[in-house]
């Protein structure tokens, strides 16, 4: 009897299909063209001796640095160890920031009182340069892992809170009215109306916030780290090992793009209604 009911495609499969075709072919082609041209420019500049190899090594040297650090390591840790140390810090700090920032944002978005009480704190520290905050965090928390996580956490937090407040405040009140007329409690309205309605904007805020957390990574790893991509870049720069520096930056950039794609994928699985048909 139910044979003619069209089965919707499973979320994971659609998400996977969309990940494979994240952009239409034309834009993908154009984007690849930019990458290829940049790469060619790099080759030309280094091969013709236009650039000092001390500051801009050729692609081959960078690839060699990649192989070396991957197998033998840099200052006692392999590339994977550096990368996982950094990713661990970022993901733990960002995860905590989401756990605290999103509920806080929902609270501040729905309650004027909460917004008035809490926003001075966030507005004040948000524009402070990360390194400035970091010196204080080191004094308070020591030079260990705690101060690094705290810095990354503080970097992630305000963007998340502000995006969530915006998202919640921009919800069409008709949905709240509809839910009330259907007998929904405040709890149900928060969980089943505010959260999903704000979801897409919150996700956009999460992506921007994760990107910002990334930019703070090097600052967080400068002091007293012995592993981490940011630390590796910083340390290699002291010895003018520009091949390691550039390799580290490329790895950072690529993992950043990969993380962003994972977030979008999560978004499509958690919020199937936002999928483009």
């Amino acid at each position: 009897m139910k044979a003619d009911v069209p089965k919707p495609e499973p979320a994971l499969r659609i998400a996977a299909r969309r990940l494979l075709a994240l952009r239409p072919p034309r834009t993908l082609l154009l984007s690849s063209l930019t990458v290829i041209l940049l790469f060619c420019a790099w080759v030309v500049v280094t091969e013709t001796g236009l650039a000092n190899p001390l500051f801009l090594p050729n692609p081959e040297a960078v690839a060699r640095a990649f192989m070396e650090v991957s197998t033998e390591g840099y200052q006692g840790s392999t590339l994977i160890e550096h990368l996982s140390a950094s990713l661990y810090r970022i993901l733990v700090a960002f995860g905590l920031a989401c756990l605290i920032g999103i509920p806080l944002g929902v609270l501040m978005g729905t309650s004027e009182t909460a917004r008035a009480l809490l926003s001075p704190m966030i507005e004040f520290y948000r524009p402070l340069p990360p390194l400035g905050i970091y010196t204080l965090l080191v004094m308070w928390l020591g030079i260990g892992e705690e101060s690094k996580l705290a810095l990354l956490f503080l970097a992630a937090l305000p963007g998340l809170i502000i995006a969530t407040i915006q998202a919640v405040r921009n919800i069409d009140p008709i949905y709240v009215r509809a839910a009330k007329a259907l007998g929904a409690s405040t709890r149900t309205i928060v969980l089943q109306v505010y959260l999903p309605a704000a979801g897409p904007t919150i996700l956009a805020g999460m992506r921007i916030s994760l990107g910002f957390t990334y930019t703070v990574l090097v600052a967080a790893e400068i002091v007293a780290a012995s592993a981490g991509i940011g630390w590796m870049i910083w340390d290699a720069a002291k010895f003018l090992l520009s091949d390691v520096v550039i390799m580290g930056l490329i790895v950072l950039g690529l993992t950043g793009v990969a993380l962003d794609m994972v977030m979008r994928l999560f978004g499509q699985i958690l919020m199937p209604w936002t999928r483009k048909q």
Binding site: Y175, R177, A178, G183, T188, Q192
Partner: protein, 267 residues
């Protein structure tokens, strides 16, 4: 008379509504008294700004009357509640829920409807002829389909009163006629009280047991016109002589109102 028609009495007693605006307090609806019988289909008809939505929102519990009170089955309205279903003009289905889950929302949060929410939802999906779209999201449906789901969502709570604020205003005339016919059918099946806001005279005459014509500045009831056309009403109903005469009576009141408003603004 079926036994299901025992609830749905609406009493609007000395209700007036003023809004605080930048230019001071503005009277949107002056003292209004209105009694609606259980199972009655009442249309609020009038030009834009005469307070139709305001009055409806008072019954829904979204607007608190400045004076007076509203009773539904003898109980004073203090806020929105599942005993009064609401259908909005704009599409208000939750975009993040499938069609089935939209309809199941009411029974899920209130426990009304007896059966499991999914079973209730499936029943209503069948009734509105959209079973095939159960697992679709609202934006995949046409405007008319979405509004059918909106009606089903409101009815799934088995309310005693259904409140509708220009629910077909955004639809093309073809779809609109179809929706009017199926609304009457649903209303007959459920026997519930309907308060239906519109500014379309033909729509009001075709649907209503009684038309409340409203006028503006300030919003108030200017006429109470019974519509004693036989039911069920089909396509031939709109061409009948009695239809035309009721329609003309409504138009007379509306014309008198617009002339009054024009002179008010000119003077």
């Amino acid at each position: 008379m079926t036994t299901s028609v025992v609830t749905g009495q609406v009493d609007i007693k000395d209700v007036s509504v003023s809004y605080d605006t930048r230019s001071g307090r503005q009277l949107a609806v002056t003292t209004t008294n209105l009694s609606i019988r259980p199972g009655e289909f009442v249309c609020l008809l009038g030009p834009s700004g005469c307070g139709k939505s305001t009055l409806l929102n008072c019954v829904a519990g979204f607007v608190t009357p400045t004076t007076g009170r509203i009773l539904v089955d003898g109980v004073e309205v203090l806020g929105p509640g599942p005993d009064r279903g609401m259908v909005f003009q704009q599409y208000s289905l939750f975009p993040w829920k499938t069609v089935r889950e939209n309809i199941a929302f009411g029974p899920r949060v209130t426990g009304r409807g007896g059966d499991s929410p999914t079973i209730v939802a499936n029943t209503f999906l069948g009734m509105i002829g959209l079973s095939k779209f159960a697992d679709h999201y609202p934006r995949e449906l046409s405007g008319g389909m979405q509004q059918r789901v909106g009606i089903a969502r409101a009815l799934a709570n088995y309310p005693s009163v259904l409140l509708m604020d220009e629910p077909f205003g955004a639809l093309d005339s073809q779809t609109r006629h179809m929706m009017q016919a199926s609304l009457l059918q649903i209303w007959r099946e459920f026997g519930i009280t309907v308060i239906f806001v519109t500014h379309d005279v033909d729509e009001a005459v075709f649907l209503a047991d009684r038309i409340i014509v409203m006028g503006a500045s300030p919003g108030r009831v200017v006429a109470n016109i019974p519509v004693d056309l036989p039911r069920p009403r089909g396509d031939d109903c709109v061409t009948s002589a009695s239809f035309t005469s009721i329609r003309n009576a409504c138009l007379r009141h509306i014309k008198a109102e617009s002339r009054r408003a024009f002179e008010l603004n000119a003077g």
